[in-house]
């Protein structure tokens, strides 16, 4: 099977709607089929990877933990819109530390999250075979 470049755009916060968790499910399925998968977090989507989420009060699964598994699925390109962070008063320090082990570099742990400008993100998106927006 030919490999395609899939990008998943995450635009909504985690728990108000089902978009975020559904996106993550599809991402894991695409990874199971050995595709080249990347994620983008734009607008309220940046809230999905904010550190220290606690869902006890709303009785929902805290699936932010699942983002830590993505490295094991060879998903290590997580782009975050710099503008969206600034608009929400967030910085890189507010985000979860998501890492992967680089097979080609003696399994060294490397960061998966990359903060990029919207202009850079546009370029990355135009390089994809498929973009799916959630």
């Amino acid at each position: 099977m030919a490999t395609k470049k899939f990008m998943y755009l995450n635009r909504k916060a985690s728990y108000g709607t089902a978009y975020a968790i559904e996106s993550l499910e599809v991402v894991l399925i695409a990874a199971a089929f050995d595709q080249d998968v990347s994620l983008a977090f734009i607008d309220d989507g940046v809230y999905q990877i904010v550190e220290g989420q606690n869902t006890d009060g709303i009785g929902m699964k805290n699936f932010s933990k699942t983002f830590h598994a993505l490295g094991d699925y060879d998903i290590n390109k997580l782009y975050v819109s710099a503008e969206s962070l600034v608009e929400r008063g967030l910085t890189a320090d507010d985000l979860m530390s998501l890492v992967y082990e680089d097979e080609d570099d003696d399994w060294a742990e490397k960061p998966s999250v990359k903060i990029v400008s919207n202009a850079e993100l546009t370029k990355i998106m135009s390089d994809q075979d498929v973009c799916l927006s959630f």
């Binding site: 499910e25 894991l28 399925i29 990874a31 199971a32 089929f33 699964k61 805290n62 699936f63 933990k65 699942t66 830590h68 598994a69 094991d72 699925y73």
Partner: protein, 107 residues
């Protein structure tokens, strides 16, 4: 609705409520598949449960294989070994015994 030792299961035999799981349930489920759970089975079942606890998902077989090899030795980090323990698939059958939902992407 079917149940195992009073715990509700779905039409494929997976627990409906993760919290209902006990070791006895795993033993009964395995007996139903003609398997006597050995220490090696428990290694995998316990691994699956702690992986789920940490990441809130069941690992894909590829991820499970790699992790088992890392934790229990290279000779165990292959699908032949895992299928010898769980002939219906380490993901599907293993997760069922472990009281977890069916793995994402599992067909």
């Amino acid at each position: 609705m079917a149940d195992i030792l009073g715990a509700e299961v779905d039409e494929e035999g997976f627990l409906v409520n993760l919290k209902d799981w006990t070791e006895e349930i795993a033993v009964v489920m395995a007996k139903g598949d003609d398997i006597d759970l050995s220490e090696e089975h428990w290694d995998v079942i316990n691994f699956l449960r702690s992986y789920f606890e940490e990441y809130q998902i069941a690992p894909a077989v590829r991820v499970l294989t790699k992790a088992i090899g890392k934790q229990f030795g290279k000779e165990k980090g292959n699908s032949k070994y895992l299928y010898s323990l769980f002939p219906y698939g380490p993901g599907k059958q293993g997760c069922r015994f472990a009281g977890l939902p069916k793995p994402t992407g599992c067909i």
